[in-house]
Symmetry: C2
Subunit: 76 residues, 2 copies
């Protein structure tokens, strides 16, 4: 089984990486962008027995810094 | 409008960051993981007029290194 975990910065947390990407895209001539936010994607390939609760624990303990980041778990 | 762009390493490209995460999760006692791959997530907030073709161009020119990375565009 494959699961994707998305880790994004919470609203209000400054995102210098996203700002840099935004600026660079504008420099390349791409218009119409209002905001760019950078995050992480972690793809897990795992046995069927791994539960959603276990994956939430992985996020809480290691994959996300829940003080400043949100995470989403998308099971395929 | 919001669009998410997923940038992942191509199959066969070594992923030391994913390996490190895998190892760390095992060290924390999480079993049943077969593979972990690390990627990037870029969230764009943009005007309705920005086309998919433009977003593909952004990926080709800046957001992904297409020699070693794949990208996916998910429009919401």
């Amino acid at each position: 089984m494959k699961t994707r975990i998305f880790v994004t910065l919470k609203n209000g947390v400054l995102d210098p990486q996203g700002k840099a990407i935004h600026h660079a895209l504008e420099g390349l001539g791409f218009d119409g962008l209002r905001d760019v936010r950078a995050g992480r994607l972690i793809e897990l390939e795992h046995d069927d027995g791994v539960t959603r609760a276990e994956m939430e624990a992985m996020c809480q303990k290691l994959l996300a810094n829940t003080v400043i980041e949100n995470f989403e778990i998308e099971e395929n």
